[in-house]
């Protein structure tokens, strides 16, 4: 955002514009979405949109960053919760289960996140930075849960688990799929079993 709002009305406008952007980006994708439609959906004139977001790319990046912060906040909350209860720490399998569910819930509330994380409209450097932070959080969680697991393995899971969300999103995108819940559950079970107490012996 080039010019941050300074008055109350401006902040409300920006909130409405970003909400509209989320909706339109989700429905059409970032490239097919038009600035005109976003402004209209927010009940604003096109000029107002450009008042706060100098380009379409800047708008996409602002939304992407906001979504990413929400995701990171969820993970950070989980981490502090775990840190405060050293006695009840889950093992790697249980943690993976919680992480998977947390991310699925997040996608319910923020379905546009992966759309933006994928599309080319956003500067690869920014996407990379977000991924790095995300992985850092996931790795920290695993390190907290089971400090003995090999760092290379933790790193691999920190890369893999967020990417598994793409599968969930793709499954949701299929309109005519009878056993969607079943498939998602199968994926979760696969992950949890892989990290379960009996399975973390590999190197």
């Amino acid at each position: 955002m080039a010019k941050a709002p300074r008055r109350r009305r401006g902040r409300d406008r920006v909130a409405a514009l970003m909400a509209a952007a989320r909706a339109v980006f989700l429905e059409k994708g970032t490239e097919a979405a038009t600035m005109t439609e976003i402004a209209a959906q927010a009940g604003a004139a096109i000029g107002s949109l450009y008042q706060f977001f100098p380009t379409k790319e800047a708008l996409a990046e602002a939304v992407h960053l906001e979504e990413a912060e929400a995701m990171l906040a969820s993970l950070a909350a989980l981490r502090t919760a775990m840190a405060e209860r050293p006695g009840r720490r889950p093992d790697a399998g249980a943690l993976a289960d919680r992480l998977f569910r947390l991310m699925v819930d997040f996608l319910d509330a923020h379905p546009v996140f992966i759309v933006l994380a994928d599309r080319r409209s956003i500067d690869p450097k920014r996407k990379q930075a977000v991924r790095r932070r995300l992985r850092g959080e996931v790795a920290a969680l695993f390190a907290l849960a089971e400090p003995k697991v090999a760092p290379a393995r933790i790193e691999a899971m920190a890369v893999l688990i967020p990417h598994l969300m793409r599968v969930v999103v793709a499954l949701r995108g299929e309109s005519e799929l009878a056993n969607r819940a079943r498939v998602i559950d199968e994926l979760r079970a696969m992950l949890v079993a892989h990290l379960g107490p009996k399975a973390n012996g590999r190197d």
Copy 2:
């Protein structure tokens, strides 16, 4: 393709045009790719491109279909090979391993396939039809390998395994990722173990 080529020269042109389309779609995505650039890369005039493909969407669909047929052909070949050796049939885990590797290899040779399978440029009905056929092949393979596995489970895996390829593609798309191979291997191991001899007891 609205007008199929009738002469030798026309067939060569179409081949060159589709090759260029694959390259440009892969590099820029279907929406950012321009018909002008595709024609140029094929060494053809823009008019020649429109001679054979009446619209950009038709071109994308033609490429998508061609890629899909190649994928289906690989699977069909595996199936007939298996059917001809009833003695040496792999169990579900071993089959999943072969399938995973086959698909990864396919993505090496046809990296544009998932790009097209994802993007909105292609009619959802067509994409759905391709997915259905793909799932049919995978399910048939599992049914051949282990007829005893519950149909619902086979169906779930037939949905899941192709979608796992999205993860592989996403990993490949990350330029600065040190342990890419390691992560992909972890994913494969996870899948194979899930379907291995000790694991297919769930329902």
